[in-house]
């Protein structure tokens, strides 16, 4: 039961076999590990709206999970793409929270994946005045977050 999961090695192998000439850097995060991929062909690896990147991250995490259910999840980025998207989402969350605080209204954000919602929730975690809930949206597996004042 002492299999040593090597997220970086797994990702490098996947990229190599896919034909991407890439290097992978490890960066520790508060809540896990970030693997940042540097490649000439970053557009192809990111895909439309980051879809290929999401798929790569999902499968890497599935392999890690198969090695042991307690293995920490990794986040994969390509040349800072996700870092930029993450920062934009956090800003959006804070702006929406400010709107709720100022007007006392409910603000609904557009439907997002669980991954993106987690970024929103995390950036509002320490805000005592805001309550955030996810609601189902017809026609998509994504959910919308509602922000409202906490009473």
């Amino acid at each position: 039961m002492n299999t040593q999961p090597q997220p970086k090695a797994i990702l490098e192998e996947l990229l190599k076999l896919l034909g991407f000439d890439a290097t992978v850097e490890e960066h520790p995060l508060d809540d896990g590990l970030l693997l940042d991929v540097k490649t000439e062909d970053s557009g192809r690896l990111i895909g439309r709206q980051g879809q290929t990147l999401s798929d790569l991250q999902y499968l890497t995490n599935r392999i890690l999970f198969q090695q042991g259910p307690d293995t920490p999840k990794v986040m994969i980025d390509v040349g800072g793409y996700r870092a930029k998207a993450r920062e934009a989402l956090a800003q959006k969350a804070l702006a929406a929270a400010e709107k709720v605080r100022r007007w006392g209204d409910i603000v609904e954000l557009e439907p997002m994946s669980a991954f993106d919602r987690r970024i929103i929730y995390n950036s509002l975690r320490d805000d005592p005045g805001i309550e955030a809930v996810s609601v189902e949206v017809d026609g998509t597996t994504k959910k919308a977050i509602l922000l409202r004042p906490k009473h």
Binding site: L14, L17, L45, D55, Y58, R62
Partner: protein, 83 residues
């Protein structure tokens, strides 16, 4: 692409020794036939096809880079079925 699929799929299943990937060329498209231990088929498909679609997406991204067209199909051999 075959080595990629084998490495990836073997990393995802309970029975890596039962995984085979067979390329079948049809016109300009290469179809990779994937055979698995019956217990692993659901795992490779994933919830709402999530896992198999993610594998296909990477396969397409990688093969497009080499100007190839590839698809992936799971083949379930049913021995001695239908009597």
């Amino acid at each position: 692409m075959q080595a990629f699929l084998e490495y990836l799929v073997k990393g995802l299943v309970q029975h890596p020794e039962s995984v085979t990937v067979t390329p079948v060329a049809r016109d300009a498209v290469t179809i990779y036939e994937l055979r698995l231990h019956p217990d692993d088929v659901g795992k490779i498909i994933g919830r709402q096809g999530m896992t198999i679609n993610a594998i296909r997406s990477l396969l397409v991204a990688g093969s497009a880079k080499k100007a190839l067209r590839c698809t992936l199909e799971i083949v379930e051999d049913t021995p001695a079925a239908k009597a």
